[in-house]
């Protein structure tokens, strides 16, 4: 296998983008990434796009060809492939692109992610997102996506010492980072009170425990490491690419409060790279809900089970902490256009490793990790990137 490098990245701003269509979004992100890489359209050997549910959100399928077409590449007839794994679609799109380059089948490959979620009413988006879980045996009986994570939180708080304030601190910290990220959906800081006085969505989770509905797109360009310097002075190496699966339903998991797929993907990524948690300078984790960030920190091995709440409260996961978590603002504050999130995580880590993260720069960052979850943990993608 060949070593792979990221040679360019691009991302739209995230938010409720009433003026942007599905097509505008990915064209904008794609052009930014190609310009950043200094790559011309005709040099692209392949395109992968992560997208969860354009069928439900904008009634459009066949996204691969559509994107290649509107990116102006129809006459080049490049292979264009949609990748779907609910909220992990972006992470898997990146992994497919890595595999394509590593295998030697393709040289210059674009990995993108896009979701246009605000063209439907909120009840319809809640229903579409519930499709990330088991439609027949969870969604049918009235389980919403926040409801499933709320049941993780109930189980967790019954077994481990996590306080309401510690859980809220996850959102407070992510909003602090989001306020320093020009692409973030929410660019204002919040207090513990903002979280614990917001309305209940699914007990014990409140509105400010939940990531928002978001429009957005992100894209990165990959190349074999040996060719990367043809395009950029700051190639970022892909040190590990790992993926794992688990039961589709939450109720069938070995342990309700542990995402075994996160544990498995994390271990595989560390084994493949020969690195350990102490080597990681920052990590973008999948905080679709505050409780999800707590579980992710533990399941990736940054602390023992039951300790992430205290660790968060004491500031270890803050920008200047021992292991900064979600410097982008995470899904909570940066926003969560589901198919784009996994690529945005790579976008953030690349910015940090290049030293281009401005007010949220982690000093001297050399190795970063991304963690992208589909559903309640049925799919997980973990990547490690380094300078």
């Amino acid at each position: 296998m060949r070593d792979v490098a990221v040679i360019g990245t691009g991302c739209t701003t995230f938010g409720e983008k009433w003026n942007s269509s599905f097509r505008n979004l990915f064209v904008e992100a794609g052009i930014l990434a190609l310009e950043d890489a200094g790559v011309a359209g005709e040099q692209i050997d392949g395109l992968y796009v992560g997208n969860m549910s354009a069928g439900r959100f904008v009634e459009q399928e066949h996204i691969g060809a559509l994107i290649a077409d509107y990116a102006g590449l129809a006459s080049h007839h490049i292979p264009a492939t949609r990748v779907e794994a609910a909220c992990a679609s972006g992470g898997l799109s990146f992994r497919q692109a890595v595999i394509a380059v590593a295998s030697g089948m393709e040289d210059i490959v674009v990995a993108a992610g896009v979701e246009k979620m605000t063209d439907v009413a909120s009840g319809a988006s809640v229903d579409a997102l519930a499709g990330a879980a088991d439609r027949e045996w969870e969604g049918f009986v009235g389980a919403t996506f926040p409801g499933l994570y709320a049941m993780i939180a109930t189980d967790y708080m019954n077994r481990y010492p996590l306080t309401r304030e510690q859980l809220a601190q996850v959102a407070v910290k992510n909003h602090y980072n989001g306020a320093r990220n020009p692409i973030a959906q929410f660019r204002q800081e919040i207090s513990i009170d903002t979280v614990i006085k917001s309305s209940l969505v699914a007990d014990p989770l409140r509105l400010f425990d939940c990531s928002p509905i978001t429009d957005g797109a992100a894209a990165v360009v990959l190349a074999p490491l040996e060719r990367a310097r043809e395009f950029t002075d700051t190639p970022i190496k892909v040190l590990a690419s790992a993926q794992a699966s688990d039961t589709i339903t939450l109720h069938d998991r070995r342990d309700i409060s542990t995402l075994d797929a996160t544990v498995a993907a994390g271990r595989r990524a560390f084994a493949a790279s020969g690195l350990s948690t102490t080597d990681i300078d920052l990590v973008e984790v999948h905080d679709c809900f505050t409780i999800a960030e707590i579980c992710a920190i533990e399941d990736l091995g940054f602390c023992r089970k039951g300790e992430a709440g205290r660790m968060t409260w004491e500031g270890a996961t803050a920008l200047n902490g021992d292991i900064p978590v979600n410097t982008s603002g995470g899904l909570k504050a940066c926003g969560h256009p589901v198919g784009a999130t996994g690529i945005k995580q790579v976008f953030e880590v690349v910015q940090q490793l290049r030293g281009e993260a401005g007010k949220r720069q982690v000093e001297g960052a050399e190795i970063g990790m991304t963690h992208n979850v589909g559903g309640t943990g049925a799919t997980v993608a973990v990547h490690i990137l380094g300078v």
Partner: protein, 132 residues
């Protein structure tokens, strides 16, 4: 979500009567039914099995923001229930939000689950009520 009649009808034995399966080789019970034992694999032997429906609450929540089909029923209690025969399922509980507890014993009750709009199909299935 508007389900086709056939798609709902196919699962009536399971949704109404809790019919799952069991592997006669290893004794594991499956709900929803599996036609392939994950442990015995091709050596397994799968037959139908009707669950008692009695179980214990493992974890729970109160849904306050629901999808369109369930909007009119909020707030409602949702739980993961461990059936006495082993499998866990996700189900609504017929009790007040402040009544639900981890470890609470529950029994099955036949109830309306949801409806497709005002004049649409009504879906029935199993909910759970406190057993004591």
């Amino acid at each position: 979500m508007a389900m086709s009649v056939a798609r709902f009808w196919r699962k009536i034995p399971q949704r109404y009567n809790l019919v799952g399966t069991t592997c006669t080789r290893c004794g594991q019970c499956f709900f929803p039914p599996r036609s392939f034992c994950p442990d015995c694999r091709r050596a397994g032997n799968i037959v139908d099995y009707r669950f008692s429906g009695k179980g214990t609450v493992v974890t729970h929540t109160v849904i306050r923001t629901a999808s369109e089909q369930f909007e009119q029923m909020t707030p409602y209690v949702l739980a993961i229930v461990k059936l006495d025969e082993g499998p866990r399922i996700t189900a609504q509980l017929v009790c007040a939000p402040d009544e639900v507890r981890i470890g609470m014993r529950v029994r099955p009750v036949f109830r309306k689950i949801a409806a497709d709009g005002k004049s649409g199909v009504i879906y029935y299935g199993t909910k759970y009520a406190p057993a004591e």
